[in-house]
């Protein structure tokens, strides 16, 4: 009984220390997203992420063809690239400034996740990150998500041709479309050279 009370007391003490530590860090650092996540924090977050995925999803295998489809590539370019970058590096204005940063999907931390874990993350999102839950529960949504899983597996081998093709599919503002058109006209000699912004 005594040892149980001691264990309980230690648990309460540890919990109080964690809360106090968190409060001190909050007061010292505020809620800014500009800080670089520490390695410890990233490791804990990765661990928690995998713990939070239900076991029934972890065992799932991708039912669509293992080779990435053009549809999966286009979907990624249109929906995911704004944060994850066309090549999956996460090096975009959004991805670099999220907290936590968009992960490099080509690296082992992502590639070692099972098909089912990737599927779950895309469908359901991840709390307290910039990752939304994209799934609506429909079969169509699930099929698209599996296509994305296949494409994510392909990211480490993405060719320059594929990347350029995808960049043309990235979402663009009216101003960006206009600028792209002007660039093309300039390169074709249909405009006066030498514009700088």
């Amino acid at each position: 009984m005594k040892s149980l009370l001691i264990a309980l007391g230690l648990l309460v003490l540890a919990f109080a220390c964690i809360v106090a530590g968190g409060a001190i860090l909050l007061v010292a650092g505020g809620v800014s997203a500009k800080a670089e996540p520490t390695r410890l924090e990233a490791a804990i977050a990765r661990r928690l992420l995998r713990m939070g995925i239900p076991d029934e999803y972890k065992q799932l295998r991708n039912p669509v063809a293992p080779q990435p489809s053009a549809a999966g590539r286009a979907h990624f370019a249109d929906h995911c690239a704004v944060c994850h970058a066309t090549d999956g590096s996460g090096q975009t204005e959004m991805g670099r400034n999220l907290y936590p940063r968009s992960p490099d999907l080509r690296r082992a931390e992502t590639q070692e996740l099972s098909d089912g874990e990737l599927f779950y993350i895309i469908e359901n999102g991840v709390r307290l990150t910039g990752m939304p839950g994209w799934g609506d529960g429909s079969e169509h949504s699930k099929h698209e998500t599996w296509q994305l899983v296949a494409f994510i597996r392909h990211l480490p081998r993405l060719t320059r041709e594929e990347k350029l093709e995808m960049e043309r599919m990235n979402p663009k503002s009216m101003a960006e479309w206009r600028e792209m058109q002007e660039d093309e006209e300039f390169l074709q000699g249909r405009d006066q050279p030498a514009r700088t912004k």
Partner: protein
């Protein structure tokens, strides 16, 4: 234990320990006046502009992957660059094949 780990992670997530430097962008259209393995110079309406190039720089000719060797002096080019380390680093250079000579 799972809850304690979650709370600890939450506490850490709220910490702000370092500033993040914003990277500014710079795009330019002009005519190539010189190109080497590490630098590209464009003549734009503001005068000559120099850009650092390197292995990270992506060269695109007629919408397809290319290399710095494909770029010639006198070609029109569009350079997309970032301000980094006190200079402009080109991350993408687009250019087109020279126009075919006009038939007489």
């Amino acid at each position: 234990m799972k809850i304690a780990s979650l709370l600890f992670a939450l506490a850490l997530w709220t910490a702000s320990l370092a500033a993040f430097a914003h990277e500014g962008g710079h795009d330019a259209r002009g005519v190539v006046t010189s190109v080497s393995a590490d630098e590209l110079t464009l003549k734009t309406q503001h005068g000559e502009e120099k850009f650092a190039v390197g292995k990270e720089t992506e060269f695109v000719k007629d919408g397809a992957p290319a290399s710095a060797q494909d770029l010639n002096v006198g070609s029109r080019a569009v350079v997309h660059a970032k301000h980094k380390n006190g200079r402009r680093e080109a991350f993408k250079v687009q250019f087109a094949s020279p126009p075919a000579p006009k038939k007489k």
